[in-house]
C-alpha cells in the first residue's frame, strides 16, 4: 500500500516539469485571457476588473460577421490550395522520385523555415509590389502594358502569402501518409481493373485519409487566426479575425481582444473535435 503510494508520488514528480511548463506557458495565460475577456476596458487602455458579458455581446454583433466570414473563407481557400499543391508534391516525393532524392526534397520543402516568417513575408512584398519583380518581369516580357495593381495589398496577396507559409505543414503529413501506402496495393487495384484515376480516388486517397485530415487541421487553424500576412500583404479594407484581434490590443482594448480570442479558440476546438472524429472512424487500421 505504502509502496504503491510512493510509486504514485514518483510518477507525479516525473511529470512535474511538463506540468509546470504546461501551466506556465499554456494554462496561466489562457486563464488570464478568459478572465480579461469578461472585464471592462479602462479609460486609458487598462483593464477594469468589473465583470460582464458586454465584450461577447459586441463580438457577436452582426457588425463583425463579415470579418468572421472573410477569415473563414480565406482560411478555407488557403487550405484547399495547400492540399491541391501539397498532395501532388508529397505524392511525387513519396512514390515517384528516386528514393535517393527523397531526403533532399523533403529538406528543400521545409528550408524556408530557416528564416523568419516576417522576413519572408517582406520578401513577398518586394516580389508583388507595383515595381516588384513579378510586374517588372511581365512588363519586360511584354505580357502586360501597365503594372498589375492587385498583386499586392489584396486578398490575392494574402492567399499567396498564406499558402506559401503553410504549404510545408500540408506536405509533411501528406508525405508521411503516402510513404506508408503499399505499392503492391496500388498494383492489385490496377490488376483488378482500376485505371489511374480510380486507383487514386478509391485506394490512395482513402488510405491517406489520416494524413489529409492532419494537413487540413495544420493549415486551416493557423490560417483562421493569421495576422502577419493579412496585415502586411492585405488591403486596407480587408479586415480579418487576426488583424481585428491585434487591433483591439493595439487600440488599448484588451478585454475586447481577449473575448474575440476566446471565441476563436472555441471555434478551433470545435473544428478539432470534428476532425478528430472524422479521422477516428478509421483509426483502427
Amino acid at each position: 500500500m505504502r509502496a504503491s503510494r510512493g510509486h504514485e508520488a514518483n510518477r507525479w514528480i516525473g511529470l512535474a516539469p511538463s506540468l509546470l511548463w504546461l501551466g506556465v506557458v499554456l494554462l496561466l495565460p489562457l486563464g488570464f485571457i478568459i478572465a480579461v475577456s469578461f472585464a471592462e476596458r479602462g479609460l486609458h487602455g487598462g483593464v477594469q476588473w468589473r465583470f460582464g458579458l458586454e465584450n461577447y455581446r459586441r463580438a457577436l454583433d452582426p457588425l463583425y460577421f463579415p470579418v468572421y466570414a472573410r477569415s473563414f473563407l480565406m482560411a478555407a481557400v488557403t487550405t484547399a490550395l495547400c492540399l491541391l499543391i501539397g498532395y501532388p508534391v508529397a505524392y511525387a516525393i513519396a512514390l515517384r522520385v528516386n528514393p535517393r532524392w527523397k531526403q533532399a526534397l523533403l529538406v528543400l520543402s521545409i528550408l524556408p523555415f530557416w528564416t523568419s516568417f516576417l522576413l519572408r513575408t517582406y520578401a513577398w512584398m518586394f516580389l508583388l509590389r507595383a515595381e516588384g519583380f513579378v510586374n517588372t518581369m511581365l512588363l519586360t516580357l511584354g505580357v502586360i502594358e501597365r503594372p498589375i495593381s492587385w498583386l499586392l495589398y489584396s486578398d490575392f496577396a494574402v492567399v499567396v502569402g498564406q499558402v506559401y507559409g503553410e504549404l510545408p505543414f500540408a506536405i509533411l503529413p501528406l508525405y508521411v501518409a503516402l510513404e506508408r501506402v503499399d505499392v503492391r496495393v496500388i498494383e492489385a487495384a490496377m490488376d483488378l481493373g482500376a485505371n489511374r484515376r480510380q486507383v487514386f480516388w478509391r485506394v490512395v486517397v482513402p488510405l491517406t485519409r489520416p494524413g489529409i485530415i492532419t494537413a487540413l487541421v495544420l493549415v486551416f487553424i493557423p490560417s483562421l487566426g493569421a495576422f502577419i500576412t493579412p496585415d502586411l500583404l492585405g488591403g486596407a479594407k480587408s479586415a480579418m479575425l487576426g488583424t481585428v484581434i491585434q487591433n483591439q490590443f493595439v487600440q488599448r482594448n484588451p478585454p475586447m481582444g481577449s473575448a474575440l480570442s476566446v471565441l476563436l479558440i472555441l471555434a478551433v476546438l470545435a473544428l478539432l473535435v470534428m476532425a478528430w472524429r472524422a479521422a477516428g472512424v478509421k483509426a483502427r487500421q
Binding site: D182, R184, V185, E187, A188, A189, M190, D191, L192, G193, A194, N195, Q198, R202, V203, P206, L207, R209, K282, R284, Q285
Partner: protein
C-alpha cells in the same frame, strides 16, 4: 495450327533489368481451362513472367496474347486476367464485401448484380457470412480465400497466382492445395500458378513449365516432366535424380549403346539427340533396388557399391551408396517386411534398375 484459341499465349518475351536478364525469349501457351504451373527456383524469372502477363511489367521484346488478342501494349486494368498476389494484398481500408466488389464497382455494374456476384464468390470460397469482416481480422487462409474471390468474381480469361500458398503453414497449405484444385475445376478458368514447391506443382498442375535463369527448360504433364526430364537441371529440381556420366559406344534406330559405370547398356533415346561421345543420364532414386547379393542372368543394370549413409524418414528410407567415385541416392518406402533394416553402413550392396528407368539428358 488451327487449334482452339489459348487463354494465354506468350511469344518470345524478353525482360531485362539493366544488365540482368530476367526473362530470355520465353514462349508459352496456357489452354482454356488448364492448370499450368511455372516451377523454378527463386530468381528464375517466373514471377516476372506473371507480371508481364498481368501488365505490371512491360517486356523488352515479345508479345502477350489473351484469348487470342494482343494485349502487349494494354495497361493492367484493360486486361482480362487477374492476380492472386503472394501476400494477398487485400485493400486494408475496405471490408471483405467491398474488397470483392472492388473490381465490379469499377465496371459500374448495377448494385443488385454486384451483391449477387459477391455472394456467389464468397460461397465459392466458402466464406459466406464474412462480408462485414475487415482484412486485418482474418487469418492467412481466409485472406487467401478473399484474394481468390476478389479475382474470380471478375470472371477473368485466366487467373494468375503468385506463390499463393507460400505464406501458409504446412497443414493449411495442404488443405488449400486441394481447395485450389477444386476451385479451378468448378470455375473452369485457366490457372497460371507460380511456385518453387515441386510437390505443389506435381499435385495441382495439368502441365508444368520448369523455368530457370529466365529460360523455359521444359514443359509437359507432371508425369512427362518427372519421368522424362530433359536436362540435368529439370531432373534434379523436380524431384531427386542421380546423374551419371556415360560414354556413347554406338547409336542405332533411336537407341544408344552407353558405357555406364563399367557396364554396357542399351537405352532408348526417346527422340533426344545425342552429340559427341559423352552423355549424361538420369536415374530416379526410387527406381533403384538394393540387393545384398547380385542377380545372375538379368536384364537389369547392376552396379556394386558400399553403403555410406542411411536416413530413416518415417515413411521411407534414403541411402547414399558409394559406387566408384560417385555417391548414388536410393530411396524405398518402409513397408512391413522390407529389408530397410537389413542394410548397414559400410555394407557391400548391389544396385539394380531397369533399362527403361534410364533417361538420356540433353546437354
Amino acid at each position: 495450327m488451327a487449334t482452339a484459341i489459348s487463354a494465354i499465349r506468350v511469344e518470345g518475351v524478353t525482360k531485362r533489368y539493366g544488365a540482368v536478364t530476367a526473362l530470355e525469349a520465353v514462349s508459352l501457351e496456357v489452354e482454356r481451362g488448364e492448370f499450368l504451373t511455372l516451377l523454378g527456383p527463386s530468381g528464375s524469372g517466373k514471377t516476372t513472367l506473371l507480371r508481364v502477363i498481368a501488365g505490371l511489367e512491360r517486356p523488352d521484346e515479345g508479345r502477350v496474347y489473351l484469348g487470342g488478342a494482343d494485349v502487349t501494349d494494354l495497361p493492367p486494368y484493360r486486361r482480362r486476367v487477374h492476380t492472386v498476389f503472394q501476400q494477398y494484398v487485400l485493400f486494408p481500408h475496405l471490408n471483405v464485401y467491398k474488397n470483392i466488389a472492388f473490381g465490379l464497382e469499377q465496371k459500374r455494374l448495377p448494385r443488385r448484380e454486384i451483391e449477387r456476384r459477391v455472394a456467389a464468390a464468397l460461397e465459392l470460397v466458402r466464406l459466406s457470412g464474412y462480408e462485414r469482416r475487415w482484412p486485418h481480422e482474418l487469418s492467412g487462409g481466409e485472406q487467401q480465400r478473399v484474394a481468390l474471390a476478389r479475382a474470380l468474381v471478375l470472371e477473368p480469361e485466366a487467373l494468375l497466382l503468385d506463390e499463393p500458398l507460400a505464406a501458409l503453414d504446412l497443414q493449411l497449405r495442404k488443405e488449400m492445395q486441394r481447395e485450389l484444385k477444386r476451385l479451378q475445376r468448378e470455375v473452369g478458368i485457366s490457372f497460371l500458378m507460380v511456385t518453387h514447391d515441386q510437390e505443389e506443382a506435381l499435385a495441382l498442375s495439368d502441365r508444368i513449365a520448369v523455368i530457370a535463369e529466365g529460360r523455359l527448360q521444359q514443359i509437359g504433364t507432371p508425369r512427362e516432366v518427372y519421368e522424362n526430364p530433359e536436362t540435368a537441371f529439370v531432373a534434379t529440381f523436380l524431384g531427386a535424380a542421380n546423374v551419371f556420366e556415360a560414354e556413347v559406344m554406338a547409336r542405332e534406330n533411336g537407341d544408344a549403346l552407353l558405357a555406364l559405370c563399367g557396364r554396357t547398356v542399351r537405352v532408348s533415346l526417346n527422340g533426344r539427340r545425342l552429340e559427341g561421345s559423352r552423355a549424361q543420364v538420369a536415374v530416379r532414386p526410387e527406381k533403384i533396388a538394393l540387393r545384398a547379393r547380385p542377380l545372375r542372368k538379368t536384364d537389369l543394370v547392376q552396379l556394386e557399391g558400399v553403403i555410406e549413409e542411411r536416413l530413416y524418414l518415417g515413411d521411407a528410407t534414403h541411402w547414399r551408396v558409394r559406387v566408384g567415385d560417385q555417391s548414388v541416392l536410393v530411396t524405398a518406402p518402409n513397408r512391413p517386411g522390407s529389408r530397410a533394416e537389413a542394410f548397414r553402413d559400410g555394407q557391400r550392396v548391389f544396385l539394380c534398375w531397369a533399362r527403361e528407368s534410364i533417361v538420356v539428358l540433353s546437354q
